[in-house]
Amino acid sequence: MTTTLLPIATGARTRSVVLGFLRPQRARLAGALTLLVAGTIAGLVAPPLLGHIVDLATKDGSTGDFVLAGAGLVGAALFEAVLAGLGIALLAQVGEDTLARLRERFVESALRLPLEQVEKAGAGDLTSRVTNDVAVVAEAARTALPEFTRALLTIVLTLGGMAVLDWRFLVAALLAVPVQAYTVRWYARRAVPLYARQRVAVGAQQHQLLATIDGATTIRAFRIAGEHSGRVAARSQQAVDLLLQGVALQTRFYARLHVAEFAGLAAVLATGFFLVRGDAVSIGTATAAALYFHGLFNPVNVALALVDDAQAAASGLNRLVGVASLTTPARAGSESSDAPSAIEVRGLTFGYHPDRPVLHEVDLTVARGERVAVVGSTGAGKTSLAKVIAGVHDPLSGSVAVPAGEVALITQEVHVFAGPLAEDLRLARPAATDEELWAALAAVDALDWVSKLPEGIETEVGSGGHTLTAAQSQQLAFARLILADPPVAILDEATAEAGSAGARMLERVATAALQGRTAVIVAHRLTQAVTADRVVVLENGRVVQNGPHEALVAEPGPYAVLWQAWSGQRTH
């Protein structure tokens, strides 16, 4: 199956979406920036005050003069602390608010995406966006962005301060800029592809470790521990090599910035030297200029080093906005009508590729309340039929209608949502009372083990919580079905993964959960066919037999063969 990745927004689109998110926060953002500018300016009063102290020292200032200057320094520091502190807090609020709205919009769009589109992209695409990209963007908004803003303000305002001292200091300081500009371009060209490879290598290492550790029992049984240690070692070494290459690149980046620092500092010092000798400025002013420039080292390093963080965040943001700006309308409930049948499939042809249909001209009518089992060998098209009826895929030709209303699809893929068990169940019916939850659990035979959980239905389950077995997770799936209470339910091998003993228990549970519903059951265990009202046999994408179990067993055909194989020695 070819994969079509989910959309990625262009830079321009991302900018306009983010600006849209920021619009309601305009006033706050302006306030934050004003506070930060004021705070930075207060901080930049320090070097001239220190210069003033130097001047006082050369001009025999009195102790009172020094104390006054010192008090000025304390005042400046207090102003800076209060203004910058408020500015940082306000900026963070703007950032967090925007971030929260972006991730909410993203999750909303992601959950509303047609399943078909998600499957075409591969499950990994959406998962990696919701974990990695959200984390990268959040980290950037939380730390990189405010740091970058402050560093940038400090740089710009410091350069302004140098110009105020004497324009020649500014000219001298700007000598460093070409070197820095060159360095950033040099670095970005190398860093971006290197970090991309690094992330891939670290991911591969993680993946290998999980596969190896998860499969430890199998590895021991087949005596392939040596080979697997080797695989882990190779993956780990690869990641280590790339991480070290990254460190080497960073040190070369800083070496270039050191050149810029030296060039600028030497120029500022030489300028000061000649200006003082020519009596154009006082020694205090030269000191202030030198301190200004020395004070630039840190912000410059911070701002430039954040360039690659910014690039990673920007590409993550493009991927988030790509999904977030998809407008999938909230799903309208299936149109129900008074037609006597619950499901009407007419001349259905379906395939994942238009030229390779897996279902051909399928006709199927299911009456209200009827229970139909779909059987056939692997690859016959059973799952595809289930998905098309459930509305996951659209037919290539023909029609599918469900006059009975809402269709629920339960597959063998079990997922227990992280959080209290009750909340997991309430996804199916948000307003359910505790009594309703317990009733649903009782209906699926789960009363026993749920009441033995440490905190009953309030026990944390799922990832990070209490681990449930495959069979228990599937019981929960059926409990959700009861709570959601749809008129039509489609079960796609929902009892398969639990092993043969568990499968029997789940079949009982499924029967209870399907009480009063129209049901289509995809089954490889024929016990489910025996208890169904009707059996539909698929072969190579076509319906080849259709009728109650007793009738089909009696006539020669694939079902009789299947039954023979299944029951084998069962009939004695």
């Binding site: 207090l78 209060v82 910058a84 030497a266 997922h415 949502f417």
Partner: protein, 546 residues
Amino acid sequence: MKPALTKQRRLIATGALLATLHQAGEVSVPFLIGVIIDRAVDGGVGDLFLWLGVLGAVYIGLSYSFRYGARAGARASEQTAHDLRLQVTRRVLHNRGGAEEGRLPGALVSIATSDTARVGGVAVAIVYGTAAVVAVVFTAVLLLWISIPLGLLVLLGLPPLMWLSQFIGKPLEERSETEQEHAAEASGVAADLVEGLRVVKGLHAEEAAVSRYRQRSQIALAATVRSARTEAAYQGVVLTISGLFLAVIATVGGILAVRGEITVGQLISSVGLAQFLVGPLSTFGWVGADFAQARASSRRIEAVLSAPVAVTGGDATPVTPVKGQIDLRVRDVALKIAAGETVGIVATDAAAAAELLRLLSRSSDPADGVVELDGVTLASLEPEDLRAAVLAVEHHTGLFDGTIRAAVSLDRAEPATVDAAMAAADADEVARGLPDGLDAVLGDGARTLSGGQRQRIALARALATEAPVLVLHDPTTAVDAVTEARIAARLRQMREGRTTILVTTSPALLAVTDRVVFLHDGAVRAEGTHGDLAAGDETYRETVLA
């Protein structure tokens, strides 16, 4: 964590030495600024260029020492982490097991990645911590050389100020950390919902899921905003304290300069040095935190590495050629399987079936009984040598990345054997359906294949080993009935002459066995052919045929 780091001591020492030189260079810069400005008053142009030359030389020195110091530190750190990662992996895979006891795979992976990285990070912490100590000492010497009172003021004043900012900052920082965790939860919930996307979609619970996420996201937002405010307050405190410190130094320094006790250049140097000191002193903060984290990580790694093995003792080799006779007497269960027999074992209790597999592969030894292979107790055999004779494959068995051919042959089995095994497990049909056939690459645990396809390839792998004794647990639960019957017949054929134990309730598989042992309520309830048991035992019929 000591031995792993000791291996890297040369790199760490080199890194520390170079980082120290770098710090010395960084200290010299503000000092030289003072010197050069001083020359403007009473020096010549020659002096300017001389001192700028010195500044240039310092820059070359600090740049190169930083470059190679940072690389040595990083290499030591990464290498330590790599070594530990492999140690953890080897321990987990150790043929006597035991490391997984009480630990989920995800937790072990996190130990092998995050915790090893944290312990490796100690190398970097040592490098920069050492350099910071030397930098503080060097600064102190310079300051005391400029002026003893000023130097003492800085050296005695700075530690309490640092302590004060820590004292005020600590609770703030802790509060901010717990709130950050709260925020991380929001992305956790999102990932969880996306992982369960099919379930959400299947129930049309999108709206419920969205509104639940909104709620969590808003709670997280409130927490992060609180945390950001705390953080901002902390930064304000640090700014105030360092500003106060600078003001005191500058004022006192100015007064000393007026009195002629220090030169103007020395005043400038002192101010620069006092500003510089904040850097190395804050290094102590993160070095301390890193050490504390590394200690906790190291304990977790150590716990895995020193986990008791699951089976102790026994290093004999099975007598060759292995005949394949199994004799098991555990508690009330007595089981005798003759060499070359194909036996089905039906257990009403899933735990009993799983235990049987563990005992036969010597993943655990019976507390109360004995299992024998060809008359020799398994507890006396070296586990790996035993597993060459007895291969027990659990129901949930993983497939690993690589080609189908490699996954089945495990780079040991002959091509003809692989073909036979593929055919017997009906896995040849799976391979034929893929563009590259046997050379198709299975990625990500073969998750692109269906459950039934995975099971058939896993079965082919087991058959291709041609183990003298093969134990299979429910190998065909996801395979349709016709295919299952075909597999059962071919499996029997391929295993002819070798002992095969099928732990299953599948009638298709049981039908091809010589004999079935029915375990119920912790004892052998009945024995006989599948047909006889199905005809004669009601409980058996319920278990197998219902």
